[in-house]
Structures are given as structure tokens and as C-alpha cells.
């Protein structure tokens, strides 16, 4: 399954006049492969990365990176003129033949060279002062084709806050290959013990929506886990925490609901959970 590699957003900490910066690291090597047989050729594929930004009417190619085998490409959002949550995405291809202003993002090439199990990934990084946090992530091509989808997640990875020492965010990432898809989707927030008290906030398609967890996190409910659902759109949710005293950062995504199950029918298990909570 081929993937897009998004460039994480910049998170503006307005009260501190500081920023958490996003970057992406790519390495030109299939991340899983069979060990070569004797006399077989080594890996020698050049990979081009087309960096696209979502502009007013289309995707726009803003730079092409050429990577030789075992070569890294480091792409930092701050090096480009863009909004902090504007979608910037790397498209890996084996030839340098990227359209300049397409309405649809080109399909990413797969880096696989055999049938080894693999999710094609890069490092998604956030940095603040001298701290960096990374996770191996991607946005699967099939997910960027979805027209109708839904979403169920939770904020159990947030950290307890004490006198505003810890800032917790959930970043909702959505990519659609079609540049016209940029409408809003409602995300419901609720305590699962009281599902009738739902709040809503708006997330954007083809964008990063940065949700700061604070209003849910007050009084006696400081450690309650809240659920987040959408009947309109799917997202990859990334929980990001920052401790302002130590500068410690942490980023991790939550598993999709089907991951609570194992087996051929695990997707049905995921649907069951969505049916209960959506």
C-alpha cells in the first residue's frame, strides 16, 4: 500500500509567543525487504519526492527532492511560506514527472521491492527548543480516496495537567487527493459516561485541525477520557503533549477501532464500535 508523507503543522503557543515546529524525515530504502540472495542486485532505486501545498484552487508543486539509495531528505515546514495548518504533503515517485498544478494529487509510488509486510512510512517530527518527538507515520493512499467515512477516537493519551504546566493537543489530519475537497466536518466531543452532553467543534478536510484540550480538562473531570466522533469524515488523530517546565514533548497516534480486534473480520469489529458510539 503506497502512502503520502505529510509535513506536520506548526503549533502556535500564542500566550508564550513560541511555536512547536513540524518536520518530516524521509529515507530512500524500502523499510522492510527480504535479505538479498547471493549474486542478486543491491537496492539502487532513485526516489523523487514532490512537495505539494494545497492552494486556493489546486495542489501546487513547490519543490522536488531527489534521493539516492540510503539518502535522507529532511523537510521542515518553516522553510516554506505557508499557513501553520495548511496541508503540505510529500509524494514519492520513481520518476521526476510531477504535474505543476494538478486538481488531484498524483498517486504515490510504492517503495516495496518484494512481498514483505510493510507500511510505507517516514518520521513525522515535532520540535520545541531542544526537544524533539517523532513517530513513524504516513497517510495511506486508499484513505486519501475516501468520499464517505466516519471517525471514532479518544484522548486517553493526554497527560494530567497541573497549573497549566502541560499543554495537550489532538491534531486531526485529513488528506483527500481532490483539491476541491476542503469543506468542514463536525467532530463530537463527549464524556462516554454522559453521551447526551455532546459538544461539537469543526475540523477541515485536507488540513490539519489543531484541537487544544483544556475545556474538557477541568475540575473533577481532570483525568476523564473523552471520546471524539465524526459521522462525516475520517482523520488520523495525533496526541501531542508539551511540558512547559521540562520542555518534554510527546507525540503518538491512537489506533483505529479495528485494531482492538485480531482476525480476518477485524474491520467488522471496528464497525461495531463505531455503531455503538457514532
Amino acid at each position: 500500500m503506497s502512502s503520502y508523507f505529510p509535513i506536520p503543522p506548526t503549533i502556535n503557543l500564542e500566550e508564550l509567543s513560541l511555536k512547536i515546529a513540524g518536520s518530516t524525515t524521509f529515507l530512500n530504502i524500502p523499510n522492510n525487504r527480504l535479505k538479498n540472495r547471493i549474486f542478486s542486485k543491491g537496492y539502487n532505486q532513485v526516489i523523487y519526492l514532490g512537495l505539494y501545498s494545497l492552494e486556493k484552487y489546486n495542489w501546487s508543486l513547490i519543490k522536488v527532492f531527489k534521493t539516492s539509495p540510503y539518502e535522507f531528505a529532511q523537510v521542515e515546514r518553516k522553510d516554506f511560506e505557508c499557513e501553520s495548518n495548511q496541508m503540505l504533503v510529500l509524494v514519492p515517485q520513481k520518476t521526476n514527472n510531477f504535474p505543476k498544478s494538478p486538481k488531484k494529487l498524483p498517486k504515490p509510488d510504492s517503495l516495496r521491492i518484494d512481498k514483505s509486510p510493510v507500511a510505507e512510512r517516514c518520521s513525522l517530527n515535532f520540535s520545541f527548543k531542544n526537544s524533539v518527538t517523532s513517530y513513524q507515520g504516513e497517510y495511506p493512499f486508499e484513505m486519501a480516496l475516501l468520499k464517505n467515512s466516519s471517525f471514532f477516537s479518544f484522548d486517553a493519551l493526554k497527560q494530567s495537567s497541573f497549573k497549566d504546566e502541560v499543554l495537550n493537543f489532538v491534531i486531526y489530519m485529513n488528506i483527500n487527493i481532490n483539491s476541491d475537497v476542503r469543506d468542514e466536518a463536525n467532530i463530537n466531543v463527549f464524556n462516554p459516561s454522559d453521551i447526551f452532553l455532546k459538544r461539537k467543534f469543526v475540523a477541515k478536510r485536507n488540513s490539519f485541525t489543531i484541537h487544544r484540550i483544556q475545556e474538557e480538562n477541568n475540575g473533577s473531570q481532570i483525568n476523564s477520557v473523552y471520546f471524539y466522533t465524526s459521522e462525516d469524515c475520517s482523520f488520523i488523530p495525533i496526541t501531542l503533549t508539551l511540558n512547559l517546565k521540562t520542555n518534554q514533548l510527546s507525540a503518538e497516534h491512537t489506533h483505529p477501532p479495528s485494531e482492538f480486534f485480531y482476525g480476518l473480520n477485524k474491520i467488522d469489529g471496528g464497525r461495531l464500535l463505531k455503531k455503538t458510539w457514532l
Binding site: L34, K35, F72, S116, C122, S123, N247, F261
Partner: protein
């Protein structure tokens, strides 16, 4: 031909043929014992130098029916050599519970070792699926993935979190991850920096001894780790910039990477799956 086979062969035969198709890339051994009463747990890493470790555990039974159900979260710890150390239990009815795990060793000698997580309850998943009329939903079982939160220093609110990644170990210690005839090379898409220190931690969820070769792609250096079944080994990496690969008989071999590992009071700690 494919359609003809699908039409006339029994379901079990189709599953077996499908398994044989890419047999050298399979992560799990062929099994037909998946049902609502079995489970797959990831194989999580304990770091003894952390001041505190929490685990975010899910209550799948409650999540399915949308009501609180009392469950017991069980944690079973294995030492570096893969021998049972101890177990811990926590009762809760919450949909998700952030559990502070007790240090399993009073006089710790090992820096890293491993544990599994599974759930017991008077209400079985079988009963739940029966009650909601989904008893035909077969070939599915509970997967205990969870999230581990590591506190690298004394600050009670300064931590890094990582999700469960890989394991396939059941509550009765059945190990489903298999080793393959041909070796695979896994390369995390991560740039190691010479000014940082890293611990690369591997555990062995298979039934047999596992040899992992750590390959420095930007030098000639190679390190071998030999890990007993259910055991844990780590390698400390420093003064190296570039990429690293892991060669083993696992279809996919990922380390848990601790960047500037505990004890760390500077905020430069990180943990992630490779």
C-alpha cells in the same frame, strides 16, 4: 481458476492455500483457534530507569455495548531471559483506564524487560456477541494493544507515550509470531544523530531463540543480539549519524527506540516504535 477454487473448496482449505501463497512473509503461524475467548497481546517494554510507568488499557467489552462493565486488567512480566517474574491485576469498569504499574523488581538488575496485557471479566466476549446477535462474527478475537507512558525523570507531568506494536501472545502464553526460513531486513525511516544517545530495545515474542543483527548502514559495524523466547535485549547507540537496519528471521523486526533514555531530566527524552 481462482473463482472456481473459491467456489468448490471448503473455507478452511482456502484459508490454508491463501496462507501458503506468501508463507515466507507471514508474521503469525497458521492457526484456526481464533475465537472470542482467545486474545492477542502486544509485547510491551518495561524500562527500569523510569521513575514511573503508566499503561492506558482499554475495556473492549464496555466499548462494544456502550455501558460500563467490570473487568480485570492483567499484566504479566518476564525478565531479560524470558522467565516469568510476576503479575499485577487492576479492577475497573471504565472504558479506558490509565494504570500506574508497580515496579516488578525490588532490586532491579535489568534495564529493560517485557510484559503482556490481557483482560478477564465475568462477562465474556462470547456472551456479548450472543446478546447483540452477532454470534456469526467469527475468526475474530480481542487484541490488547494499549499505550505505555514513560516518565524519564522526577517531574510528575513530564512523559512520553508509545502505542503497542507487535506481539501476538495470548493469556495462556501461546506465542503466535513465527520465524521464517528466509531473513528480512527492516529499516526504520529515522535519522540517528551523533549527538544523541539511543537504546534500541528488542523482545522476542516467538517460541524459539531469536538472533537479530543490527547493521550500521553508514559504516561496517554489525552487532548481534541473541534473545531467548519471551526475553528482552537492548543495544546502546551513540556517536553515530545515519540509518540502522535490523536483520532477523522475523517477517518484520521493529525495535522500541528510547532517545536520550531515562534517567533524563532535560526534556530530551523520546520513545517510539521503529
Amino acid at each position: 481458476m481462482k473463482n472456481l477454487l473459491k467456489r468448490y473448496l471448503p473455507q478452511e482449505s482456502i484459508k490454508f492455500l491463501s496462507y501458503l501463497k506468501n508463507w515466507n512473509h507471514k508474521i503469525y503461524s497458521f492457526r484456526d483457534d481464533i475465537n472470542f475467548e482467545t486474545n492477542f497481546s502486544d509485547f510491551f517494554i518495561w524500562s527500569n530507569d523510569c521513575s514511573k510507568i503508566e499503561f492506558v488499557a482499554e475495556n473492549l467489552r464496555g466499548l462494544i455495548i456502550g455501558k460500563k462493565i467490570e473487568v480485570t486488567h492483567n499484566f504479566v512480566f518476564f525478565n531479560e531471559q524470558g522467565q516469568f517474574i510476576t503479575s499485577q491485576k487492576y479492577q475497573t469498569c471504565n472504558f479506558f483506564e490509565k494504570i500506574v504499574l508497580d515496579s516488578p523488581l525490588e532490586n532491579p538488575k535489568s534495564k529493560y524487560f517485557s510484559f503482556i496485557h490481557f483482560v478477564d471479566s465475568k462477562t465474556s466476549l462470547n456472551d456479548i456477541f450472543d446478546n447483540i446477535g452477532l454470534n456469526k462474527l467469527n475468526d475474530i478475537c480481542e487484541q490488547n494493544r494499549g499505550y505505555t507512558i514513560y516518565y524519564p525523570g522526577e517531574n510528575k507531568y513530564s512523559a512520553a507515550v508509545v502505542h503497542g506494536n507487535f506481539g501476538g501472545i495470548s493469556k495462556n502464553f501461546l506465542r503466535r509470531v513465527k520465524t521464517n526460513f528466509r531473513k528480512h531486513i527492516y529499516t526504520p525511516i529515522y535519522k540517528f544523530e551523533g549527538r544523541e544517545n539511543y537504546d534500541l530495545v528488542f523482545n522476542n515474542p516467538t517460541k524459539t531463540n531469536l538472533v537479530i543483527k543490527i547493521i550500521y548502514n553508514d559504516s561496517d559495524k554489525i552487532i548481534n543480539l541473541n534473545i531467548p523466547s519471551l526475553g528482552t535485549k537492548y543495544f546502546s547507540l551513540s556517536n553515530y549519524s545515519g540509518s540502522i537496519s535490523f536483520e532477523s528471521k522475523l517477517a518484520i523486526c521493529r525495535a522500541l527506540i528510547f532517545r536520550n533514555p531515562a534517567p533524563n531530566f532535560k526534556g530530551t527524552f523520546d520513545v517510539f516504535h521503529s
